[in-house]
């Protein structure tokens, strides 16, 4: 298939879709917490990293796949709750800049703890490796994980959307995202909503950890660090304020980076971050509020 000047085969396209799907999940995880707390969680990648280490240890101890996945969920959920209680809660009243720097600090702290405990060399998470093998669909090799990632992402997003629109907690979460103070006055319990958002966001991080370890089984302390930076750019690109634009932004940047990474020759694909971030900056200049949002920047009126 020819796409402009790039030659793209179906395999690349499938991988790009899968990367876009995984990034979309990360984007939702970051966007949900931002919605209720107005906090951009830089440390989200380190939640994924912790989950990946859980999977790696499970496969080292020869646990079956499902046990590893359970351990991964347990570790990531516990860590997100601890992070919320110890860091986010005391900082809730601070300015967004302080919170951003604080999560940046937490990200580095978790990464250095991983470096201290598990060493720089990394561990292999191999129990789900069979998913990395290709299946042949009408003459084209497609890795199973690409299909699994897209399906899982769609299922998660649909489940999340119905949670947000069909349940009381979801309604409260959306209300809190729109105007936290008014929502509280109307009887929405802040800790319950925030706790819910943190847990869902943690569960999504666990799912992302599983998907990413299948694609790159070597788990190092900086696992998912670069992905987080790219996803954050994608989330801001899409528009942070609402879940759907944030998801679209995450998907778009994942898809674009998968496509360019697969289609460009090596001499050019090493400049992939440059191309990607230059595009992000350009888009932000034209639409500072996000690509997939409507309306203009609302200046404060005095």
């Amino acid at each position: 298939m020819i796409l402009g000047v790039l030659t793209v085969d179906w395999q690349t396209l499938a991988d790009a879709l899968a990367l876009g799907a995984v990034y979309a999940l990360m984007a939702v995880g970051i966007g949900l917490v931002f919605g209720v707390l107005r906090l951009v969680n830089f440390a989200y990648g380190q939640l994924v990293m912790a989950g990946a280490y859980a999977l790696a240890f499970a496969s080292q101890w020869n646990w079956p796949g499902w046990a590893g996945i359970l351990l991964c969920f347990a570790v990531v959920l516990a860590l997100s709750v601890v992070m919320d209680r110890l860091v986010f809660r005391p900082l809730r009243t601070q300015s967004p800049a302080v919170m951003l720097v604080a999560t940046f600090a937490v990200a580095f702290l978790l990464q250095s703890i991983a470096l201290l405990w598990f060493g720089p060399l990394g561990k292999i998470a191999s129990s789900l490796a069979p998913l990395n093998r290709p299946v042949v669909i009408s003459g084209v090799d497609i890795r199973k994980i690409a299909i699994v990632a897209v399906v899982v992402a769609v299922v998660c997003l649909v489940a999340l959307q119905s949670l947000l629109t069909r349940t009381t907690v979801g309604l409260q979460m959306r209300a809190a995202a729109m105007d936290f103070r008014t929502a509280r006055m109307l009887g929405v319990r802040a800790n319950r909503v925030i706790g819910g958002a943190v847990l869902i966001s943690g569960a999504l991080a666990a799912v992302v950890a599983i998907m990413l370890t299948v694609q790159t089984p070597l788990v190092t302390p900086d696992f998912a660090l670069r992905d987080t930076i790219v996803v954050l750019a994608g989330v801001v690109l899409g528009g942070l304020n609402k879940p759907v634009p944030a998801t679209l932004g995450g998907f778009a940047i994942g898809f674009a980076s998968g496509l360019l990474g697969g289609a460009l020759p090596t001499t050019q694909s090493q400049y992939l971050p440059t191309i990607l971030f230059a595009a992000v900056i350009l888009v932000l200049l034209v639409r500072p509020n996000g690509l997939f949002t409507r309306g203009h920047e609302s200046l404060e009126r005095v």
Binding site: V98, V101, A102, V106, F108, L109, L272, F277, P288
Partner: protein, 335 residues
């Protein structure tokens, strides 16, 4: 009586730098490196402060100016005979040009300033999160280009053979210059206008201050200082792109926040305090004698401790150790 009090605000951070430098002359040659390193960090943190402290806008991208400064000074001061060995793909005009120590530092500052101007022209239109992410993008781009574009530097390799001219003297002069420029800027009308936009942007624009122009001005000044600091850094130790990336961004931001982002005094105190802790832990990772016993920490403890410290300061004292105030002489007098 006000003028002397203002001069104290300049003299106090300078005195701290000089004290650190003098302390550095007393210790062994192997520990001296830590002191020189902290003085270079002071320059970087002061550069960060000029923009972040005065404008209240976060930047994760300043290490790109440091990196470009380091690259400029490094490429231009490697002896001509050794260039082909370290940088085989260097562009022709760079291969033939070699400059001395001081010109290389000035050019580093110029490079930092020019990059800040180009980037700032576009980025200063943004604010809030979009600005934070965009500056991060600048860091990614600079890191990526310096890493792979071998016509302008060693690429993936380490910058070796750069004359090691940054000792205690040059590092402390650099830090003093940075402090002087930062002080002059924050006393100038431009610095005052920018601080007004930090306190209340709508009110500031209502009295006719262009938020965009004032931010851009501070961005360029801090880009110049960051470029200079990069030049000092590359003359201190052999560097590669990884030493001018996320870790440095983290540690310098931590220094600024721990000290107190909204004062020059805070920036200098933070840089020196965190450096002191960091250097002590680095020593302790190799085993250090303390109170009769030997303290031997596992490698990697440094970043953990600094990370915990930064998180604790943010939670317990969000305006930093100094509370974001200048040197507190006036308050003493009132008491």
């Amino acid at each position: 009586m006000r003028r002397p009090a203002q001069l104290v605000q300049l003299a106090a951070p300078c005195a701290l730098v000089v004290a650190a430098a003098l302390l550095g002359t007393l210790v062994s040659a192997s520990s001296e490196g830590y002191f020189v390193d902290s003085l270079v960090k002071v320059s970087i943190v002061v550069a960060l402060y000029v923009f972040i402290g005065n404008s209240g806008v976060l930047s994760f991208g300043h290490v790109s100016f440091v990196a470009l400064g380091a690259w400029t000074a490094g490429v231009l001061s490697v002896p001509a005979g050794e260039k082909p060995a370290i940088m085989p793909n260097l562009a022709h005009f760079l291969r033939g040009t070699t400059v001395g120590n001081v010109p290389s530092l000035l050019l580093a500052a110029l490079a930092g300033g020019v990059l800040a101007l180009v980037v700032g022209l576009a980025l200063m239109r943004l604010s809030g999160l979009a600005a934070g992410i965009a500056t991060f993008g600048v860091l990614e781009i600079t890191h990526n280009v310096l890493r792979y574009y071998e016509k302008i530097g060693p690429g993936l390799n380490t910058f070796s053979s750069v004359p090691e001219t940054t000792g205690l003297g040059q590092a402390s002069i650099g830090a003093l210059v940075a402090i002087g420029v930062a002080f002059a800027y924050q006393r100038s009308r431009f610095g005052r206008m920018l601080r007004a936009t930090r306190e209340d942007a709508p009110a500031a624009s209502a009295v006719g201050i262009s938020v965009y122009r004032q931010r851009l001005g501070a961005f360029v000044v801090s880009g110049v200082l960051a470029g200079l600091a990069g030049g000092l850094y590359v003359h201190l130790l052999p560097m590669n792109t990884e030493s001018l990336y996320l870790d440095l961004t983290f540690i310098t931001l931590a220094m600024l926040v721990v000290g107190g982002a909204s004062s020059l005094w805070g920036a200098v105190v933070g840089a020196l305090a965190v450096s002191a802790l960091d250097s002590f832990l680095a020593q302790a990772e190799n085993g250090v004698k303390l109170f009769g016993g030997t303290l031997d920490l596992p490698a990697g403890t440094r970043l953990v401790v600094v990370g915990v410290l930064m998180a604790l300061v943010l939670i317990l004292r969000p305006s930093g150790l100094t509370g974001g105030r200048e040197f507190p002489l006036l308050r003493w007098r009132r008491v």
